[in-house]
């Protein structure tokens, strides 16, 4: 029973981090129709910035703020000064098909190399602001710590804030309209390019938060977010790539599936489980489980 409850709790906190990554991927996909593979690089770069600030100031919270803000800034800059020029330049020929993917991959490689230049390639540890020792229930220590609880709460708050932003504000309306139909949004006077950059900024901030919440229970290395990119992508595909609700739900489904597989079968089958889920969703319901039928179809 205890094992079961622990599995639920760890699934929730793991799923919460995947949800941040899948939300970031979905935000960029909706605004730009690009799967941003550089997301892993952006997230880990901003986490390194957060790590540096944490060490200099001695406070995790300053580091967290720095990571989120720099994440937003870097995301916006990548859209404005990197991808937009590439889209402008590469317009014809069969290369158009692969150019966005290749560009974000190249960017991922460059960001990871730059991190290596600045911080080296050693594994770094980032201390959590609260204890990472598991809670003790009836004399047994379970694999769920105050820090995991903090992860769960921070992601819940973030998701509530994002929902309010998207559903209750004019900016959210502009974001949704630009994703739904850029042409009509433009005709209604929305600055689609600026809104698109805003989408990238929010995605970048979510990536920074994901990194700062993931690294204390893991380690910091230029490649440490690669796995999260894959899980975030799978979660986004489960949710249909287009829907923010789907991204979160997909992340939770994935979190539960792989944590239960790890608890009850073996941690060794985490990757195979995730991969099988991805293939199954793509074969059975390629549009994702939660995709809205009204969305853009391309």
């Amino acid at each position: 029973m205890l094992r079961f409850i622990t599995a639920i709790l760890t699934s929730l906190s793991a799923g919460a981090i995947y949800a941040l990554m899948s939300t970031a991927l979905v935000l960029v996909w909706r605004s730009t129709r690009v799967i941003n593979f550089a997301q892993a690089g952006q997230a880990v770069l901003t986490t390194y910035i957060g790590y540096e600030i944490t060490i200099r100031t001695g406070s995790y919270w300053y580091g967290l703020m720095a990571a989120i803000l720099s994440g937003a800034l870097i995301g916006a800059m990548i859209d404005r000064f990197f991808l937009r020029p590439i889209f402008k330049r590469v317009k014809s020929g069969p290369i158009v098909m692969i150019a966005p993917v290749v560009a974000t991959l190249g960017l991922l490689g460059i960001i990871q190399a730059i991190i290596g230049f600045i911080w080296g390639l050693n594994y770094q540890a980032l201390a959590a602001p609260v204890s990472t020792d598991g809670y003790k229930i009836l004399g047994t220590v379970i694999a769920f710590s105050p820090f995991n609880l903090m992860v769960l709460l921070s992601v819940t708050i973030t998701m509530v804030l994002l929902t309010v932003l998207f559903q209750k504000t004019n900016i959210g309306l502009a974001l949704r309209a630009s994703a739904y139909s850029p042409e009509i949004a433009k005709l209604s006077g929305i600055k689609v390019d600026a809104v698109r950059t805003l989408g990238w900024a929010i995605a970048g901030a979510a990536g920074g938060l994901a990194g700062m919440l993931y690294v204390p229970d893991s380690y910091l290395h230029p490649n440490s977010m690669d796995v999260l990119l894959v899980f975030g992508f799978i979660a986004a595909v489960i949710g249909g790539l287009d829907s923010l609700f789907g991204a979160v739900a997909g992340a939770m489904i994935l979190g539960f599936a792989i944590n239960f597989a790890a608890t009850y079968i073996s941690y060794k089958i985490v990757f195979p489980t995730a991969f099988v889920i991805l293939i199954l969703v793509l074969l059975v319901k390629p549009g994702g489980i939660f995709s809205s039928s009204k969305g853009r179809k391309d």
Partner: protein, 323 residues
């Protein structure tokens, strides 16, 4: 009549190329021979990417994993089944090809970014699976020993020259076969898929099946390259097939022009040259360890982006336009 002469011309080109390589192999030192074997192996792997992306229009980031499949299949057939190394290399290609065909059936239903993400997931997850089976040797991997050169070539015939011969010959034969295939009905069908799927379908092409076939063929070529790679490093382990290998291959393909097989040798040269350039730059600048280790990745990625920006159709097309 015209077509036959084109095919003969191609065969002649490859024979001349092989003869030139034979002469070069005799005249350079062991280190260059060893590097030459890597050039041939990379050229072959890049050819597999061009076959898939350039011709059939599917993008794969999972070719490092497909190479690993071939490499493990080859190693197991030498170690456990005690087969002849040449047969082991053929098995490497076949097993990877079958694996790729199955994967291709799933991949055929995916478009651009979905396919890229799925193959990325494959590239990251497959090596970790290899870690978990004792027959695959875990993190340590298993040996891949092609054996010493036959005695009839004389005492002076070094192991590196042997590597160079096997690697070059395998690459030449396979790339020749791919080139022939791409100039046949297969190639035209693939190009039709790439350029306009709907039109291809209207012309009576079974889009799903042909995409899967392209994936399988490409995987087979990649599997052979994987077998050659682990022959050169004498063993196969998960760490020999990092995600960055897939990125390097993609860079090699884009740099040489992803729609043209002619440049694959150049791509192989670039991939072999980059670590060496990085090494000499690193030692000259005298940067930290992190700088030296991260520099090759930086150069590969920068080259990838620059190539997409400035040579979107490959250097060949650029020259043609200038003339």
């Amino acid at each position: 009549m015209h077509k036959i002469s084109a095919n003969r011309k191609r065969l002649l080109t490859f024979i001349l190329l092989g003869w030139a390589l034979l002469l070069i192999g005799d005249r350079v030192g062991e280190f260059r021979q060893y590097q030459g074997s890597f050039v041939a192996m990379y050229a072959l792997a890049i050819a597999s990417i061009i076959l898939l992306t350039g011709y059939s229009g599917q993008l794969s980031l999972g070719h490092s994993a497909l190479m690993a499949v071939g490499a493990y299949a080859g190693a197991l057939s030498i170690n456990n089944l005690h087969l002849h190394p040449v047969i082991a290399l053929i098995i490497a290609a076949l097993v990877a090809g079958i694996f790729g065909l199955i994967l291709g059936i799933a991949a055929a239903r995916l478009s651009g970014p979905y396919l890229a993400g799925t193959t990325l997931a494959l590239a990251i997850s497959l090596p970790t699976i290899a870690n978990q089976f004792t027959i695959l040797g875990g993190e340590q991997g298993v040996a891949f020993d092609i054996g010493t050169p036959p005695a009839r070539y004389g005492e002076d015939f070094s192991q590196y020259k042997w590597f160079f011969w096997i690697s070059s010959l395998a690459a030449l034969i396979m790339i020749w076969m791919v080139a022939n295939l791409m100039h046949s009905k297969f190639g035209r069908v693939f190009i039709a898929l790439r350029d306009n799927q709907t039109a291809a379908q209207l012309a009576g092409i079974n889009v799903g099946r042909q995409k899967a076939v392209a994936f399988g063929l490409s995987a087979g070529v990649a599997g052979l390259a994987g077998g050659l790679l682990v022959m050169l490093i004498s063993g196969v382990s998960p760490s020999a097939f990092p995600l960055s290998l897939s990125f390097s291959l993609l860079t090699g393909a884009v740099v040489t022009g992803v729609y043209d097989l002619k440049g694959v040798m150049l791509g192989g040269l670039v991939l072999v040259a980059i670590p060496e350039i990085a090494d000499s730059v690193g030692s000259r600048v005298g940067g930290s360890d992190g700088f030296t280790i991260a520099l090759p990745g930086f150069l590969v990625s920068a080259l990838l982006i620059l190539a997409v920006l400035f040579l979107p159709n490959g250097p060949g097309k650029l020259l043609k336009k200038k003339m």
